[in-house]
Point group: C2
Chain length 195, copies 2
């Protein structure tokens, strides 16, 4: 069950791994309802089926002592004024953390707790980000034309809980206004006591 | 208890982190008994107190859902024909894994299980190494004059068990013979049934 140790290369120029057994591709149509500007979303979908992000990873047993690991690549682009981003999620086992090492690009991680606390941290090459237990997290590529590439690791038993994020998103939208990154209050977001 | 998310930079040129709360320094005298050539060890100790490796990390609660993370820097050098290396250890909670991302330098990870199974994997910039649960691990710098720098992450509850490795070492010594890396059987190593 434990298996043997192994190595693989992060191929940063090609944006992939030398070895993986899971490749997740998230397209614009997979994020229906996630972007705030519904009109911009629909008209973009009519023109092209953009790939928003890729994840390459290696399967491990879904046990607490294991670590799931791989890279996520968020491509550059916007839907209306909102930058391309991942769906974002809580861990199903909420008392589990995640660590990211940013290898390329520019972005932010937007995070919040079930109690409504929120945080935004910058991402750029060489930066490590620690997402403590209980914090939902979403990666956002705020670069003009470069991929945001991050190595990630999290406990094997963590799981993904998309529920509340899928319903109402994060408290802040990450947008570009007049060529600048701006956090905008998400009109769909409800406080825990209002849900 | 969970704390806030945070970021820090890996300063690869300086060989440190922009922020850390634990800095472990392992000197030659801390590894008494670890190198096979006792004579070379003693005579080297008489000349200089070399630093073999540094670890920079951030404390986290010692809980299963947390991830301890930081960088380890193994400096270049040899004691006799044996390359500078870390002490090496099992995790106290043996069913926990560790993931490494090599950022700089050349080396190997030497690993073994309590049952006597062993493995060696190469380390170089851009490589990820997964150490599954149950595998003791030791980093070895096999480069001529460059540090071996690795980012690491492992479960917060893992702990360090130096016991059996301190007593008899790993099954294989990582040595340089005639300018080439060579694995040599460790004469002190005993099979599980002989211990």
């Amino acid at each position: 069950m434990t298996g043997k140790p192994y190595t693989f290369d992060i191929l940063l120029d090609e944006g992939t791994l030398s070895n993986y057994d899971n490749h997740l591709v998230r397209k614009l149509s997979d994020l229906k309802g996630y972007f705030n500007d519904r009109e911009a979303y629909q008209s973009m979908l009519g023109v092209e089926e953009a790939v928003l992000y890729d994840v390459y990873e290696l399967h491990r047993p879904e046990l607490a002592g294991e670590l799931l690991h791989g890279i996520s690549i968020i491509h550059p682009g916007k839907v209306g004024s909102e930058y391309f981003m991942t769906k974002g999620h809580f861990h199903t086992v909420i008392e589990t953390s995640e660590v990211y090492h940013c290898l390329k690009g520019e972005g932010v991680m937007i995070m919040e707790t079930p109690e409504g606390e929120w945080a935004v941290e910058p991402l750029s090459s060489g930066k490590v980000l620690y997402v403590p237990p209980r914090w939902a997290h979403r990666s956002v590529n705020t670069g003009a034309d470069e991929d945001l590439v991050m190595f990630f690791a999290y406990p094997g038993n963590a799981g993904h809980d998309y529920g509340s994020i899928e319903r109402q998103g994060f408290r802040q939208l990450v947008t570009e206004i007049d060529g600048k990154l701006e956090l905008v209050k998400n009109p769909r977001w409800l406080r825990p006591e209002e849900r």
